[in-house]
């Protein structure tokens, strides 16, 4: 009995120490990544290739999801608003919820599962097949040559993808609200324009998506770099990337929302 209790305690202790150690290692990795990313920018072609892999190839899923999220918002929002006789406020509802919250958050979640997992798997496999060690032997810094471009490619892609998500979502809401249901076109846009502020809503949304991009990119590259060099290790790291990214996105979203949209 006592032994199992002590065993439980020591398990907790081990987890805490492990977690703290990993956090420190991740911070050191992140600092090193930022320090050496000058080299990645010097060879910008590498970053452009990674923008292609994480940004352009995520376009389809982002655009289609954005369209459907906007359409669902249009349908559900109309159902609720029409009860209060203010169906014209549909544009405001769709645009504000997309630009402030859903655009950055859902795009970041999709991005983490579409591109973040791929980044982790690629870096993890390069480590497992000892390509990273081979680079070090050839005096090529793997952080500047492999990790940096992945990181900056994801950081550049994320705000653009979130903006596209929001824009397509607003179009989807317009499609359902105005074309299908028949809300007045002029009122839809003018009420939206009256309610959505450029600095307060749109710019804050872009800032949010940029923060999520940094978070997802940092988690994905770190998990790949830290993955145990086995098939199991890489698969575990990929799973951890998606789970940790999702949690980080939602937690950061709460913190950022509390800073940006309250207290005025």
């Amino acid at each position: 009995m006592l032994k199992s209790l002590l065993g439980g305690f020591s398990t907790i202790g081990r987890h805490v120490i492990d977690g703290t150690w990993r956090l420190g290692y991740a911070t050191r990795f992140f600092a090193l990544l930022l320090l050496r990313s000058g080299l990645s920018f010097a060879r910008f072609g590498l970053v452009v290739r990674k923008v292609y892999f994480s940004g352009v190839l995520s376009l389809i899923i982002i655009l289609v999801s954005g369209l459907f999220v906007g359409m669902v918002l249009g349908l559900q929002g109309y159902e609720t608003l029409v009860r209060y006789g203010s169906a014209e406020a549909l544009g405001t509802l769709v645009a504000l919820s997309l630009v402030r919250e859903l655009g950055p958050v859902v795009a970041a979640l999709l991005f983490a599962s579409r591109a973040g997992s791929a980044i982790t798997a690629e870096i993890g496999l390069m480590k497992a097949t000892e390509q990273l060690s081979a680079m070090e032997v050839m005096a090529v810094d793997p952080i500047a040559r492999v990790v940096g471009p992945h990181f900056w490619g994801a950081v550049i892609s994320m705000p653009l993808l979130a903006a596209l998500f929001s824009a397509v979502g607003v179009f989807g809401g317009w499609l359902i609200g105005v074309v299908l249901i028949g809300v007045d076109d002029g009122a839809f846009w003018s009420q939206m324009q009256a309610a959505v502020d450029f600095r307060h809503d749109i710019l804050n949304g872009v800032i949010k998506s940029a923060v999520f991009g940094v978070a997802v990119a940092a988690i994905a590259t770190f998990e790949g770099f830290d993955a145990p060099p086995t098939a199991e290790g890489v698969s575990g790291a990929t799973t951890r990337t998606v789970v940790t990214s999702a949690l980080a996105i939602l937690a950061l979203d709460f913190v950022l929302t509390a800073f940006m949209f309250t207290g005025q």
Partner: protein, 164 residues
């Protein structure tokens, strides 16, 4: 994949992303209204009570938006609220224009309404509005109404015994 084709796609992607931000700014948001702030002049209005007036609330004349509330401060000498109103240069108002804080609809947001006067001179940058009307605070209105009713009631009940 061909390197040039890849660069092309990345270019298209970046242009589309920046285009989406622009579409959001111009079509969804009111950036066009926020950006052309070059040609404006500022006038000040002292109000007894601004109620729920917020910074960035519109200034309307005859229902047309002519400016925005830029700043609200408490005047430490007079204990009145001083609102800075940024007005579009295209709209010139007579110097004796009056400002009132009104509410859009029953539950709508509050805005500043301008009523043009008849003066031949116009408001200039930095001038102070002479005639202002405060926001209507619903609680005060109700309590005033109740007091009046009570006063009337007591007057009515007192009146009959005194008259004979």
């Amino acid at each position: 994949m061909n390197r040039i084709l890849m660069d092309l796609w990345v270019g298209i992607f970046v242009v589309a992303g920046i285009g989406a931000i622009l579409v959001l700014a111009l079509r969804v948001g009111n950036a066009s209204a926020t950006f052309d702030v070059a040609d404006t002049y500022t006038v000040y209005g002292d109000f007894e009570n601004i109620g729920g007036l917020k910074v960035r609330a519109p200034v309307k004349s005859a229902g047309v938006v002519v400016g925005r509330v830029a700043n609200i401060q408490l005047n430490r000498q007079t204990y009145k609220a001083r609102a800075s109103l940024v007005i579009d240069k295209r709209y010139q108002f007579p110097a004796d224009t009056s400002a009132a804080i009104l509410t859009a609809g029953l539950l709508g947001e509050q805005y500043v309404g301008f009523d043009a006067g008849g003066d031949t001179e116009s408001l200039k940058d930095g001038s102070v509005l002479q005639i202002t009307q405060s926001a209507i605070v619903l609680e005060r209105l109700i309590s005033q109404f109740l007091f009046n009713k009570a006063a009337e009631g007591s007057a009515d009940s007192k009146q009959p015994p005194e008259t004979p």
